[in-house]
C-alpha cells in the first residue's frame, strides 16, 4: 500500500498537483506519472502544492529535475509551494531554490505564473 498520492486541481490554465504523504524511491513513479499526465494534456503550468508532503528523498527530487527542462521547453514551469520546513530543507540542501521557484503559499506561486489564472 503506497503512502503517497497526488491530487489534481485546476485554476485557469494552471494545473495544481496536491502531494500527500511520503515521496521516496518507491513512490516517485506516481509523481512522474502525474507530471507526464500534465504534459499529455498540454498543461505545462504546473504548481506543486506540498502542504501535505511529509517527506521527500532524492528520488522524489529527481523527478522534478528530470522534467523541469521539458516543461519549460513546452512554455511552462513547475513551481513549488507551501512546503513544510523539514521538506523545504531537503530542497535547499541540494540547491533547488537556484533552479525552481519555491514559494511560501499557493497564491504566491499562482501569481508567479505569467498567465491569467481566471
Amino acid at each position: 500500500m503506497s503512502n503517497f498520492s497526488v491530487g489534481f486541481r485546476s485554476q485557469g490554465s494552471i494545473q495544481i498537483l496536491d502531494l500527500h504523504g511520503e515521496l521516496d524511491a518507491h513512490t516517485a513513479a506516481e509523481l512522474e506519472a502525474a507530471i507526464q499526465k500534465c504534459q499529455k494534456d498540454n498543461r505545462f503550468h504546473i504548481l506543486v502544492n506540498g502542504a501535505n508532503l511529509m517527506y521527500i528523498s532524492s528520488a522524489g527530487l529527481g523527478v522534478f529535475m528530470a522534467y523541469i527542462e521539458e516543461v519549460r521547453e513546452g512554455g511552462g514551469d513547475i513551481k513549488i509551494a507551501a512546503l513544510q520546513p523539514k521538506v523545504y530543507n531537503v530542497f535547499d540542501l541540494l540547491g533547488f531554490p537556484m533552479l525552481f521557484d519555491i514559494l511560501e503559499d499557493e497564491a504566491a506561486a499562482v501569481s508567479k505564473f505569467d498567465v491569467s489564472a481566471n
Binding site: N3, E22, D24, A25, H26, Y55, S57, S58, A59, L61, G62, V63, M65, A66, Y67, I68, E69, E70, K86, N89, V90, L93, L94, G95, F96, M98, L99
Partner: protein, 139 residues
C-alpha cells in the same frame, strides 16, 4: 556496559523503505535526538538503502539488506550491509544541479545527501559483503 544495538533486515525492494525510516526514527527518538536530527538520519539511511537496491543489487528485489543502529553516549552509528556489487568510490562524482536539469538526469544525489547530513560516511568491502558506516555525533 555494551552500547545498545538494533538490527533490521529487509529484502532489497523500495517497498520497504518506509519500514526502514520508521525503524531509524523510532530508535533515534528513543536515543534522545532532536526532530531535526531524526529527519536527517531517516533520510541518510533511506538514501543508502536506495543506493543498495538500485546499484548494488541492480533492481533484484529479494536480496538482503541489513541495517544496524548502535546508540553510544556520544554518537549514533548506522551500519548498512549488502552482498551486491561494490560501490566504486573512485568513480563517484559530486552532482551538478544545472547539468542534471539540462540532461534530464534524475538520480545521483544520494551519496551527496548522505555526506551532507551525517558527520562521517565510509564504505568498505570485506568478508563477502559491502558495508556503509555512518556516524552522527551528539552536539
Amino acid at each position: 556496559m555494551a552500547a545498545p544495538s538494533y538490527t533490521l533486515t529487509i529484502p532489497s525492494s523500495t517497498r520497504f523503505l518506509e519500514d526502514v525510516r520508521e525503524f531509524v526514527s523510532m530508535h533515534a527518538e528513543e536515543a534522545g535526538f532532536s526532530d531535526q536530527i531524526v529527519e536527517q538520519l531517516k533520510m541518510a539511511v533511506d538514501e543508502a538503502c536506495t543506493n543498495v537496491i538500485e546499484h548494488a543489487y541492480q533492481g533484484q528485489s529479494e536480496q538482503p539488506i541489513e541495517i544496524a543502529i548502535t546508540i553510544h553516549s556520544d554518537k549514533l552509528t548506522i551500519r548498512i550491509r549488502d552482498k551486491g556489487r561494490q560501490f566504486d568510490q573512485k568513480a563517484y562524482r559530486e552532482p551538478d544541479l544545472v547539468e542534471y536539469a539540462k540532461t534530464r538526469k534524475s538520480g545521483g544525489f544520494g551519496v551527496h545527501i548522505m555526506r551532507k547530513l551525517m558527520d562521517e560516511v565510509a564504505w568498505r568491502t570485506s568478508g563477502g559483503y559491502n558495508e556503509c558506516r555512518m556516524i552522527k555525533y551528539r552536539t
